[in-house]
Each structure stands twice: as structure tokens, then as C-alpha cells.
């Protein structure tokens, strides 16, 4: 159950249709900073995939590519899974809109086909704010919120999009453990209900094990998929349960190994092109 | 007032006056200056005691500002700015010391307009609200029983606008005529098939009325009457040259215009315009006073006392020395 699969596959061969598929994707920044190197990965429809990796290994880059915000230098990306929502590493709220209006904007675009009234949107925004435990903050502006609160608004906004694929870049990084736990539950519930496909970046291995169907490990510079761990623990899981802890420590050990292996190159100049290819 | 501390930036100054700063416009009605400068009459008259420094202006207000600010000592200028300078300074700033040019103003209209009656409901341009031409047409229309007002209303709509613009708007048919000085009158005739309806000179006694004269700063006159005299000597010589050798004068004018504005006037234009202007040392004081009266009558000017605006003593000395007839300031 906790043994990592050693084979690297772009997609699981169990007949599931992939919602997102990366095929030998590489990304070079500037002249010679190879951020991603022939990464192949797929997220099935309805699958929850967590992405782990050291700081600067290319996780955000990957999400940006999947979201179509940036173009891969090589390789192909398929996103047939439907509409994509994304939560950035920063909250990226619009400072000129109130918290509620930020969410309403997402609702409005989403529902451009079937028209919702302003009131409906406002109500839905209020609901979403309740979900992220920010009821009553709808009339504030982003700059009046704390860091963690902003992150939660960004979460609410991403959920508001009602997309089929959800890309999340350290969505709970600025939250305390308690709030985090509560939001894990909410996220899991919504994921289930809406049958979302989720690609979830985190630094918290337990969180990854708590939430994911599969945990993907990325190596550093250049970023490549080094290992995938299917998580078959029954849901609902608890972050502080023994099984989660056990699996987490296995993954952590593997990650540590990888980080240490790369510790030296990380100290060398990167622009020099030494570590490419 | 003071005024003795000038000349910091311009290099001129009152300390042992070695420079005479003369202003004029690069304009055919300022031919006395153009010829005098080109032919070196001014430089010659001033001799080694003082050098001539010229300044060209594109319009009266700038020249007046320069006189007021002690930036120039004398300038050729039209009657209106002179009256304004006189009245605004309550007779302190300037004196008219000589006449320069007379005539050369016409009402040019579109073909088909044959008399004052045809002007009803038409648009006629003048160079500037309240200037001599503007006053002249309004007074003339008033005498013909046509009403005008200062805002372009009335029987005939008077639109004050830049002369250059008048050429264009006449060409495109936006206006029906204009009361303008040379060389614009000639250009309207030559370029846009305009027709001369009124020659302003015909409205004046002896067909003489002032269009350009020479003014000096009063203080300069007080402190350096000798220099003013030299200036006037050159001025008289220049006018004499123009009248005795029009061909040579025209050549000089065009050469100077070429120097100043990069472009000479077309020959036929110069010929026609030059022919219509008389160059005279007489400031034709009567026309100035009458014009001011007319301005008051058409409601463009508060009554102004022009007594003392002339100081023709030096001019008359110079003329006397040359055996010419004196001019008067009435």
C-alpha cells in the first residue's frame, strides 16, 4: 500500500480518460535556464494529483503551462478536461474590487452563457466566502485582509469558476493547521461533488497524502518527474492519522534523498548552463 | 519708474550706450526698415559710436512687450499697437517719431459683390478686433447704413482672424471678403480671383493714412536724442532711396525677407503690393486721430487722449537739414 511505484508513466493505464496530459514538456527560461525537462504527466478525469518538489524545481512553471499562461519550449500539453481554474501562488486578487466583487467577477464570466442576476451572484459569493470561513468580509478590499485571508479569497474565487480542472499552487501555504484542516475537508467535498480533476502543488507532504489520489515527485533543476506514489488510503483521511504520517515519511525520505543529491548543483550558478540537458 | 537696470541678459545696456536695438516685422509694410537694414543705412548713420541690433517680431503685441520691457529701443509698428502702448502706459512708454508707410489696404471680395448693398449677410474678415482695418470697415459699413457688432453679428458679419488664415478661408470660400493690408490683398486678388471693392486710401483726405510708423521708448529718447536722430536720419534716407529707386528697393526687400524668413515674395506679388503702398516720413497724424475717433464711434475704444503721442521735432530737424518740408503732428 505504501510502496512507491517505480515505473514512470505519463498516464495510468486503467482506461481513465486524462483531463490534463503533458507529453515530454520542456520549458527554458531566458537563454539557458532549463526549468522543466521532458516532463510527462497526466491527470485523469476526477483525479486528485499532488505535486511535490523542492523550492524552485518548476512546479509553478508546470501549472502555468497547463493553464495556457505560458508556452512550453518543447513537448505537448493537452487539456481536454474542460474549463480550467487556477489558484496562483500569490493571491492575485484585483485590488480595485471588494472581496465579494472579486468572486462575483469569476461567477459572471463563468456564467456568461446562462445569465445570472447580480443578486444571485452576490448570494453565491457570500456562500463561497462562508465556505472559506470569511463570511462577513465580502465588503472589504483585499488590502484590508491578512495574508491567509487573501489566500482564502483566492480559493473562493477559483471555486467560483466552477471549472472542471483545478490547478492549485500552494493554496494553503499561509494558513494555520486548523483552518487548513477545515479547508481540506471542504475541498475534498467539492472535488467529490463536482468530480473535479485537481493538480495540487504543496510543500506539505502530509497534506499531499491527505488529499491526493496520487503524489508526484519532481526533481530540481531541471525539473523532471522522479517518482509517483499512488495513495490508496481510504477516504476520509486525517492529516494526523498514523497511516498518513507513515506514508508521508516514506515520501519525505525519497524527497530528501533527491534534494540532497541535488544540493551541490543548486549552489552553482544556474545561468552558466552547466546543468542542462 | 526705474528701468535703468536693463540689459542683463540681452547684452544691451544704458551704460555708455553702444547699441541701438531696433525692431521691425519681416513684412512689406515695413519696407523702410527692411531696406535700411539691408542697405546698411542704419549702420552707416550710427557710425562707429553705436552698433545696430535688430529684432524681428511677427506681430505688434510682441514688439510692444519688448519696448515696455526695455528689450528694444525703437520699433516699426502699426498704428494700433502704438495707440495701445500710449494709452496703457498713460503716455509714458513711447513716442512716435516718424511715419513710414501709408496706404495699401483694400476690401477684397468675391466676384459678384458689387457694392455695399451686396455685403448684407456676408462674412468679412479683418486682421484683428479693434485694429485700424477693423475700425475702418465697421465705420465704413456704418456710414453705408449697415450694422455690425463686435461679436460677428449684425448685417455684415465681421470675423477678425489672422491674415494668413484669411487667405485660406477666402480661398475655400468660407468668407466673402476681407479688409486687409498688403501683401494679403494682392494675394487674394492673384490667387483666389478676388476683386477689390474698396481702396481704403480713397476714403481718406489726400489718399493718405498711416499704416506703419517708427516709435521709440520715451526714456531712450530722453537719454539718447543723438542716437534717435541718427536713427531718423537713416530712416529718412531709406525712404528716400525707396522712392528714388523702387527696383533696387524691391531687390533689397526681397533679399532681406529671404534672410529673415527663408522665402522671398513672388515678384508679381511684390510688384503689386509695393505699388499700392506709399513710403513717407509723414506719420499722417490726422489719420491716426481720426481712426481713433472712428474706433470710439463704433464702440471699440474708450476715448483716449492722443495728445503728445508724437514727437516729430527730431524728424523735422532732419528734414529741414535735407531741405524737405516739415511734417506736423495734427
Amino acid at each position: 500500500m505504501t510502496a512507491p511505484t517505480q515505473e514512470l508513466r505519463p498516464s495510468r493505464a486503467d482506461g481513465h480518460e486524462p483531463a490534463v496530459r503533458l507529453d515530454a514538456v520542456s520549458k527554458v527560461y531566458g537563454r539557458d535556464l532549463l526549468a522543466l525537462d521532458r516532463v510527462s504527466l497526466s491527470v485523469d478525469k476526477g483525479e486528485f494529483v499532488c505535486l511535490l518538489g523542492a523550492s524552485g524545481c518548476g512546479k509553478s512553471t508546470m501549472l502555468n503551462l497547463v493553464a495556457g499562461l505560458d508556452r512550453p519550449t518543447a513537448g505537448e500539453i493537452d487539456t481536454k478536461g474542460g474549463r480550467i481554474a487556477m489558484m496562483f501562488q500569490e493571491p492575485a486578487l484585483f485590488p480595485w474590487l471588494t472581496v465579494s466583487a472579486n468572486i462575483e467577477l469569476a461567477l459572471r464570466v463563468k456564467s456568461s452563457t446562462r445569465s445570472t442576476t447580480k443578486k444571485e451572484r452576490r448570494e453565491r459569493a457570500t456562500e463561497l466566502l462562508e465556505i472559506v470561513h470569511l463570511g462577513g468580509f465580502g465588503a472589504k478590499r483585499p488590502h484590508e485582509l491578512s495574508g491567509g485571508m487573501r489566500q482564502r479569497v483566492a480559493l473562493a474565487r477559483a471555486l467560483a469558476q466552477d471549472a472542471d480542472v483545478l490547478l492549485m499552487d500552494e493554496p494553503f501555504g499561509a494558513l494555520d493547521a486548523m483552518t487548513r484542516d477545515l479547508l481540506h475537508d471542504e475541498l475534498e467535498r467539492i472535488w467529490r461533488e463536482r468530480e473535479l480533476s485537481v493538480l495540487f502543488v504543496t510543500h506539505n507532504v502530509r497534506e499531499a497524502v491527505r488529499l491526493g489520489d496520487r503524489v508526484v515527485l519532481l526533481s530540481s533543476r531541471p525539473g523532471t518527474v522522479i517518482e509517483e506514489f499512488p495513495i490508496t488510503l481510504p477516504r476520509p483521511r486525517r492529516t494526523d492519522s498514523g497511516e498518513v504520517a507513515e506514508l508521508a515519511s516514506t515520501i519525505t525520505a525519497r524527497l530528501r534523498e533527491e534534494v540532497l543529491r541535488h544540493a551541490k548543483p543548486a549552489k552553482r550558478p544556474v545561468g552558466a548552463g552547466a546543468e542542462h540537458g | 519708474g526705474g528701468g535703468g537696470d536693463g540689459g542683463t541678459a540681452s547684452g544691451g545696456g544704458d551704460t555708455a550706450k553702444t547699441e541701438v536695438r531696433l525692431g521691425f516685422f519681416p513684412n512689406i509694410t515695413h519696407s523702410t526698415a527692411l531696406v535700411g537694414v539691408k542697405k546698411g543705412f542704419f549702420a552707416k548713420a550710427l557710425g562707429s559710436g553705436a552698433t545696430l541690433k535688430t529684432a524681428t517680431f511677427n506681430a505688434g503685441p510682441a514688439a510692444t512687450e519688448a519696448i515696455f520691457s526695455d528689450a528694444i529701443d525703437a520699433t516699426y509698428i502699426g498704428p494700433n499697437p502704438a495707440i495701445n502702448a500710449w494709452s496703457k502706459s498713460k503716455g509714458q512708454a513711447i513716442k512716435i517719431v516718424a511715419g513710414s508707410a501709408s496706404g495699401g489696404v483694400y476690401l477684397v471680395v468675391k466676384p459678384g459683390i458689387n457694392g455695399p448693398a451686396d455685403l448684407k449677410g456676408k462674412k468679412i474678415a479683418t486682421p484683428q478686433l479693434g485694429n485700424t482695418q477693423d475700425v475702418a470697415i465697421r465705420y465704413w459699413l456704418q456710414e453705408k447704413g449697415l450694422k455690425t457688432d463686435t461679436k460677428g453679428g449684425g448685417d455684415v458679419s465681421i470675423v477678425p482672424q489672422d491674415n494668413a488664415q484669411t487667405l485660406q478661408t477666402f480661398a475655400t470660400g468660407d468668407i466673402d471678403g476681407a479688409w486687409v493690408p498688403e501683401p494679403f490683398a494682392s494675394r487674394m486678388v492673384q490667387e483666389s480671383k478676388g476683386k477689390i471693392l474698396v481702396t481704403e486710401a480713397d476714403l481718406w483726405p489726400d489718399k493718405q493714412f498711416v499704416i506703419t510708423h517708427l516709435i521709440v521708448r520715451q526714456q531712450f529718447l530722453k537719454e539718447h536724442p543723438d542716437l534717435v536722430k541718427k536713427l531718423i536720419e537713416a530712416h529718412v534716407e531709406s525712404n528716400a532711396y525707396i522712392n528714388s529707386d523702387p527696383a533696387g528697393a524691391k531687390e533689397a526687400i526681397n533679399a532681406e525677407l529671404q534672410d529673415l524668413s527663408g522665402k522671398p515674395l513672388k515678384t508679381e506679388l511684390l510688384d503689386s503690393a509695393f505699388k499700392n503702398i506709399t513710403f513717407t516720413n509723414d506719420p499722417i497724424a490726422s489719420s491716426l486721430v481720426t481712426s481713433a475717433d472712428h474706433a470710439v464711434k463704433v464702440g471699440l475704444l474708450d476715448p483716449v487722449d492722443l495728445n503728445g503721442i508724437y514727437d516729430l521735432k527730431i524728424l523735422n530737424e532732419v528734414l529741414a537739414a535735407k531741405g524737405q518740408q516739415a511734417v506736423n503732428d495734427k
Partner: protein
């Protein structure tokens, strides 16, 4: 006032500390008004002193009393208000058209590459073109009508406004663009919901500059066409100059200044509202 001044001097010492104390409305208004009043009084005093020194004769440099007297006379005259009304109407109409044109041109040029390469620099080129250069064209196109004046005003102001928008668009934080893109906003919607609001500060300062250009162009343009029964500030300014009427000129300049200041205050109010909403008024200290 003494305590206020000493407070303000203390404020000078601690330059970057702006107090966020809650004060009453009258005291806040007073805090805005007294520096202005002092400035005005200071200027008037210096001016009067220069005049009294006899540096220049009164007809060249009239004293404040003469000028204010002249201004007072104007204020008592109906014509003055007509002139202000005419000029303001033209300024506002011209400015409104310029805003429209500037918005469209700015939006197009800022987002469409080839348009930008083709016309981007032309915008500043047009901005540097003095108004008088347009007069012949204005008359060709619009005859002697008020439209000719508006044409000159629009040509003066629109480039500024377009440039302000373009600068704003260029400096829109990429992360917000990305957020908008992810929300599914494209083209016009992205423009409306993200780029325009994000560019607002820069656009606003473009508007301010545009107003200045519009006004200056108008002052020149009002000499272009003198329309029946309509006197205007531009005309009055020119008349004062033509007549070498120094007090009149200065009085008209004061009128122009005051209008400019009032307009700036409107822009300033908009600006402050914007900054408060964006949380930019949170200063250190």
C-alpha cells in the same frame, strides 16, 4: 494657527511620516486650506513688494491691487461669465471627445502589435505638434465653425490620453493579467475588467495631462473662429495681449489658473478615492 504651523513643521521634520489621526471635518478642511491661503498671501506680498520696489513701471508690471481690481470689474460683468461658460463648454466637449478618441486609440494601439509598431510613436509625434499647425487643416475640414476649434482641442488632448492609457496597460502587473485570463476574460472583457481598472492611475494622470493640452489648444483655437455673440477666455487673453493691457492679461491669467486649479482638484478627488480604494493611502508611520 501657530500650533498648526508648528505641527506642520514637525511634519516637515519627519518627512515620510504622515499622520493618520482621526480629526474633525473642520480641522481637516482647515489643514487643506491654510497652506493654500498662505501660499496665495505669500505670492501676493512678494508681487506687491516687487512692484513697490519700482523695478518696472506699473503699466508693465501692475501690482496685485490693480490686477485684482481689474478682475473684480470683470467679475461684475455678465460678459465674463459668458466667456467662461463658452470656454468651459468647449473645453469639456473637446475633452470628452478627446477621452473617447484617446480611449479607443490607446486601447487599440496598446494591445495590437502591428498597430503599435505603426502608430505608437506617431502618437507622441502628434502630441508635439503645435496647435497652430492644425489650423489650416481644421478650417479645411470644418470651415469656420466651432467644430474647427474642437478639432484642434481633440488633436491636442487625445494623444496624451491615449499615451496615459498605453502606459497604464504596459505597466499592468502581469499577475493580474494572468488572473484575468484564468477567469476566462478575453479581449474586451479582459480590457474592461482587468486592464482598464489596473491602468486607471496612469490613465487618470493621462487625463490630467490631456486636460492641460486640451485647455492650451483651446486657448489658441479660440482665436481660430470668432463666433457671433460668443466671447471666450482665449479671446480675452489674446485681446489683453493685443491691447498691451497688462492688468487685463494678468487678470485673465488668474482666471485660467483658478480654473486649472479647480479642475485639478476634481482630478485630485478622483485620484484620492482611487488610492483609498486600492489601499495605497496606507503610508508608513
Amino acid at each position: 494657527m501657530t500650533t498648526d504651523i508648528s505641527q506642520q513643521i514637525a511634519g516637515l521634520d519627519a518627512l515620510e511620516l504622515t499622520s493618520r489621526e482621526q480629526r474633525g471635518l473642520p480641522s481637516r478642511i482647515w489643514a487643506r486650506v491654510w497652506p493654500m491661503l498662505s501660499a496665495i498671501i505669500l505670492v501676493l506680498v512678494i508681487w506687491e513688494l516687487v512692484v513697490l520696489s519700482g523695478w518696472r513701471p506699473e503699466y508693465v508690471l501692475p501690482g496685485p491691487i490693480t490686477v485684482l481690481g481689474d478682475l473684480w470689474n470683470r467679475l461684475g460683468d455678465g460678459d465674463f461669465y459668458n466667456a467662461v461658460a463658452v470656454t468651459m463648454r468647449r473645453a469639456i466637449t473637446g475633452f470628452a471627445v478627446a477621452v473617447l478618441v484617446g480611449l479607443v486609440v490607446g486601447a487599440a494601439v496598446s494591445r495590437v502589435r502591428p498597430l503599435r509598431a505603426a502608430f505608437g510613436s506617431l502618437i507622441t509625434g502628434l502630441q508635439t505638434m503645435p496647435s497652430i499647425a492644425w489650423f489650416p487643416l481644421a478650417i479645411l475640414l470644418f470651415k469656420l465653425s466651432e467644430s474647427a476649434i474642437l478639432f484642434v482641442v481633440v488633436l491636442g488632448a487625445a494623444p496624451s490620453i491615449a499615451n496615459g492609457l498605453i502606459a497604464g496597460v504596459d505597466y499592468t502587473p502581469p499577475i493580474l493579467l494572468r488572473a484575468g485570463h484564468i477567469l476566462g476574460l478575453r479581449r474586451l472583457a479582459l480590457y474592461r475588467h482587468v486592464i482598464l481598472p489596473a491602468s486607471l492611475p496612469s490613465f487618470l494622470s493621462g487625463l490630467k495631462q490631456g486636460w492641460a493640452f486640451a485647455w492650451r489648444s483651446l486657448m489658441a483655437g479660440e482665436l481660430l473662429v470668432i463666433i457671433a455673440n460668443q466671447t471666450s477666455i482665449g479671446e480675452q487673453l489674446d485681446n489683453a495681449r493685443e491691447l498691451s493691457d497688462a492688468p487685463g492679461l494678468l487678470a485673465t491669467m488668474i482666471v485660467i489658473l483658478v480654473i486649472g486649479i479647480v479642475v485639478d482638484m476634481c482630478f485630485g478627488a478622483a485620484d484620492n478615492a482611487l488610492r483609498r480604494r486600492w489601499g495605497l493611502d496606507q503610508r508608513v508611520g
